[in-house]
């Protein structure tokens, strides 16, 4: 390309290569070409998220209808939830991509695709009625401080979507905790999240295991239906976008801790219900497996996953103020992932050194 790049090259390039690969590829012999590039991976994750999303639309409408006593017809529920979700997703993408384009422009780089999944995830882990300006502020904060200051996509050590949620959780606790936020349009009524209630000493408030599994309970848009999340997990595992080691060890760590908590009487909830409650499964499948922020070594992935599971259940059980332990556990382990990798590599080097004479 001999011509001078356009002034708004970053933006134009982003438009041009939006969701597709440009036809100009490097020639020469030394490149391994693969159909799976970053865009393909991102699209796969988004496809895997669709079942949970569609169910989330329906559930937002369904919970709303239940609380105001309206009709619970399939299409009206879906439509209601869709209309709740649409502004969230528009605000997220506009604010997040705005920051990305701005940084790409300043740094004279291409806009990376990293925000597509982040922007898709953020509305799915917010309460349906969260004020839009808070979503915008949280997204901008997460993209700048979770990602761009460290160098952009691929250099972030925190999951930006979770960071956005953590920002809302600590900065504006009133919109994301308490009883009313999880049901859209609920000035009329009603129940707290089962998670918060159970942790504060009302075990009878827990829905049945079947309801937890099916997802007909109040919650974030994406997290309630475990069937939809399992379909997403299957897609991610089949395409090998997510690593099964992480998912597996998160569940093992979480289940083991939940069993211990149950047996010692710390928590009245059955261990299998613990795994179905709140954002545990959603986090395990879509958040913990983020290839950038997770541990990279094979042994490291087991340690990373186990610790996420253990910490998530421990935070939930021991700290009544933070019923949603999954978010904090994953963010904490994101920070520790490089350390885990370093220890695994050092250990490996030490072992190899022991077996040979130098």
């Amino acid at each position: 390309m001999s011509e001078k790049p356009h002034r708004f090259n970053a933006l134009l390039d982003a438009m041009d290569t939006f969701l597709r690969t440009p036809a100009t590829v490097t020639d020469g012999r030394c490149h391994v070409r693969d159909a799976v590039d970053m865009k393909r991976i991102m699209i796969t994750v988004m496809i895997a998220l669709v079942p949970a999303l569609v169910f989330g639309w329906w559930n937002v409408g369904y919970q709303h209808s239940l609380s105001v006593g309206g009709q619970t017809a399939l299409w009206s529920c879906l439509w209601y939830g869709f209309l709740k979700w649409l502004p969230l997703v528009i605000v997220t993408y506009v604010s997040g991509l705005g920051v990305e384009v701005l940084f790409a422009q300043i740094r004279k780089e291409e806009v990376a695709e990293g925000f597509f999944v982040t922007g898709f995830l953020i509305p799915m882990i917010m309460p349906p009625d969260v004020p839009l300006w808070i979503v915008a502020v949280a997204t901008i904060f997460a993209v700048i401080f979770g990602k761009e200051v460290f160098g952009g996509t691929g250099y972030n050590f925190l999951n930006p979507a979770l960071l956005a949620r953590a920002f809302v959780f600590f900065a504006y606790p009133s919109v994301i905790s308490g009883d009313k936020v999880w049901i859209s349009g609920a000035d009329a009524v009603t129940g707290a999240t089962p998670l918060a209630l159970v942790m504060n000493g009302h075990p009878e408030a827990l829905p049945s295991t079947w309801e937890l599994f099916l997802g007909t309970i109040p919650g974030c848009i994406g997290e309630t239906c475990k069937i939809a999340i399992l379909i997403g997990a299957a897609i991610l595992l089949f395409t090998q976008v997510a690593d099964w080691r992480i998912m597996f060890s998160v569940f093992v760590g979480g289940y083991a801790t939940a069993v211990v908590c149950q047996l010692t009487g710390l928590c009245p909830v059955a261990a299998h219900d613990q795994l179905l409650m709140g954002g545990f499964m959603f986090g395990a499948v879509f958040m913990a497996t983020d290839p950038v922020t997770a541990a990279h070594t094979r042994d490291g992935k087991y340690i990373y996953g186990l610790l996420i599971g253990i910490l998530a259940i421990l935070i939930r059980t021991l700290n009544k103020g933070y019923p949603e332990g999954m978010m904090l556990a994953i963010l904490l382990m994101n920070i520790f992932a490089p350390l885990i990798d370093w220890c695994v590599v050092q250990n490996h080097i030490k072992r190899r050194r022991g077996t040979c004479d130098l």
Binding site: P131, W133, I134, F145, V149, F167, F170, A171, Y172, P173, S174, V175
Partner: protein, 191 residues
Amino acid sequence: MKKYLGPLSKDNPILVQTLGVCSALAVTAQLKPAVVMALSVTVVCACSNFIISLMRNTIPPRIRIIVQLLVVSFFVILVDLLLQSYLYDVSKMLSVFVGLIITNCIIMGRLEAFALSHKPFPSFMDGVMNGLGYGLVLAVVAFFRELLGSGTLWNHQVVPDSWYAAGYLNNGLMILPPMALILIGVIIWAK
């Protein structure tokens, strides 16, 4: 005069030398205690620089740290008592952090690096300027933390009630120390 201005910008104690960060995180949730803290540090830094500089030729090098600590603690106690008598509410807010001025690395750093080898007046000016450089950062951080975190400045509400009625919320994260660290990071980044 120009040679004393370094601590305000390109040689700032917090932003460049990264000294005194812990107190900067602790006292900047509101503007008033931050400014009082900054003035206290300025007074302590300038006065102890002056005294140490006067004594610089008579202090035996091997016990100079103890002598410095004695002088600094004298001024810290003086400031603490003054605050308790005249600004009791601010003194309560700052709690241990006034007493902890003695451990502020900026003060020991200036004594070691400047006062021991310079004449009294330049040492005094150096102390004043370093204190003000520290105070400048504190004031900026506290301004944003109080404005966004509590909607007030110097304890006066500045965010109008109509905003709250329209759904505006104070940012609770601004009250917490991590946000002070992020703000200082942003200032260093933007600088």
